[in-house]
């Protein structure tokens, strides 16, 4: 991974003082958009590799910052256990301090289950995971956990939105040697740690929302299992006898896809 001299300067600065870092970024901003092709190539390679996976499990820890009215930030920790079978199976257990949600998708319907409250809602779903993300986001305002895993390497990826890309250097995430990359795009700075070698998987992701003055962050560290065990029942919700069925609010009643 060749580095440009400019980036080396920036890295040195990071180890020093905040004003120096600021200066480095300002210098970057003053120049034409600075894109390290090693970084964008790595992103593309990761996306292409993700598309080759027919089944996978990701267990991750997440931390999401919420900003209170007075600007104070509160971190909400959680875990995600995601099992995916392409093209039409998904199960995700999301547990945070705010509650528990399990998502099921079997190529026919989508279910969200609030395990503690024991409410669930089931709606018709498109046939593939690729379409599911759009419907959930646009029609119901639901974002799949670790949604980027479903976008990278597809035509829904917004790689073109990246305005700056840098190869930060090697890093150890959970004992795995990764390469650390940093990207900027409108309203968002983000970093991804990609496993070195033949399995270029994202091991860590950090998002900094830059169009909010409090700059809240979301971060997740992922552990991968490329040979998960499941059967078709894993992706279909079987409601407990005392579970209560409720409505999932359609944000676009009368419009959008079913």
């Amino acid at each position: 991974m060749a580095r440009t001299p400019g980036l080396t300067v920036a890295l040195i600065c990071i180890g020093l003082t905040a004003p120096c870092v600021t200066h480095a970024w300002q210098a970057t901003a003053a120049q034409p958009p600075k894109t390290d092709h090693a970084a964008t190539d790595a992103l593309n390679r990761m996306g292409a590799y993700l598309r080759t996976l027919t089944a996978f499990q990701v267990q991750s820890t997440t931390a999401r910052e919420q900003v209170l009215d007075d600007g104070q930030k509160i971190t909400i920790d959680g875990t995600v256990d995601l099992v995916v079978k392409r093209p039409n199976g998904l199960r995700a257990d999301v547990i945070t301090d705010e509650g528990s949600r399990t998502f099921f998708f079997d190529g026919r319907s989508f279910t969200i289950w609030a395990r503690i409250l024991n409410y669930y809602a089931t709606v018709p779903a498109p046939a593939t995971l690729g379409e599911l993300g759009d419907v959930l986001s646009d029609k119901y305002g639901i974002e799949l956990p670790l949604a980027d895993l479903f976008f990278w390497g597809t035509d829904k990826s917004k790689a073109g939105a990246v305005t700056a890309a840098a190869d930060v250097g090697p890093s150890q995430i959970g004992g795995v040697t990764c390469q650390h990359y940093a990207f900027r795009q409108e309203g968002l700075d983000w970093q991804v740690w990609i496993q070195n070698g033949d399995y270029p998987l994202p091991r860590k992701l950090v998002l900094t929302t830059t169009d909010d003055e409090a700059r809240p962050e979301y971060s997740t560290v992922m552990t991968w299992n490329l040979a998960p065990s499941f059967n078709d029942l894993s992706f279909t919700f079987s409601p407990p006898s005392d579970a209560l069925k409720i409505v999932l609010t359609d944000l676009k009643p009368g419009g959008g896809r079913q």
């Binding site: 528990s100 305002g141 990278w152 998002l207 209560l244 409720i246």
Partner: protein, 153 residues
């Protein structure tokens, strides 16, 4: 699936906004969680959707309507296993919300239920009957909210 009449839905939206603007619902901004989502369509539209729904993204059962409420209050709930934690602060918050909504206006939205509700299933959809008021629990994005409805038939 029984859906609310559109007029009721829009009333619910108005009330939700009103509650938000008066600070009754904790107005929390959150970090983006997807690199690809933020710029996927119209960013502003998505942000609005995000923040509207995330106003209600709070703990199950009781919304921390006051930001000075101890964060730990709600966590107690998870050891309880059901729908209402009679913790004094939680109760106070819920009562405040209910009082402002004033005699449970049809279409208004609350984030937690008063005590002593019973579940009634009509047409396969679950309602909560609390005193004289009927609530329809719904998922608004991933959050559970309760819309005041007329008695289901």
């Amino acid at each position: 699936v029984r859906m609310l009449h559109p007029i009721r839905v829009s009333t619910a939206m108005v009330v939700m906004v009103a509650l938000t603007q008066t600070g009754l619902a904790a107005q929390r901004r959150v970090a983006e969680t997807s690199v690809n989502r933020t710029t996927r369509v119209n960013r502003d539209e998505h942000v609005n959707v995000n923040r509207t729904t995330n106003v209600n993204v709070n703990r199950d059962v009781n919304v921390n309507v006051h930001r000075d409420v101890d964060v730990n209050v709600d966590r107690r709930y998870y050891g309880v296993g059901c729908c209402y934690d009679p913790h004094p602060i939680a109760t106070a918050a819920a009562v405040t919300t209910a009082a402002v909504v004033t005699a449970a206006v049809i279409g208004s939205v609350v984030h937690s239920l008063p005590p002593s509700c019973s579940v009634v299933v009509v047409g396969g959809i679950s309602y909560q009957h609390c005193g004289a008021t009927w609530y329809q629990p719904r998922f608004a994005a991933s959050s559970v909210t309760y819309v005041v409805v007329t008695a289901p038939r």
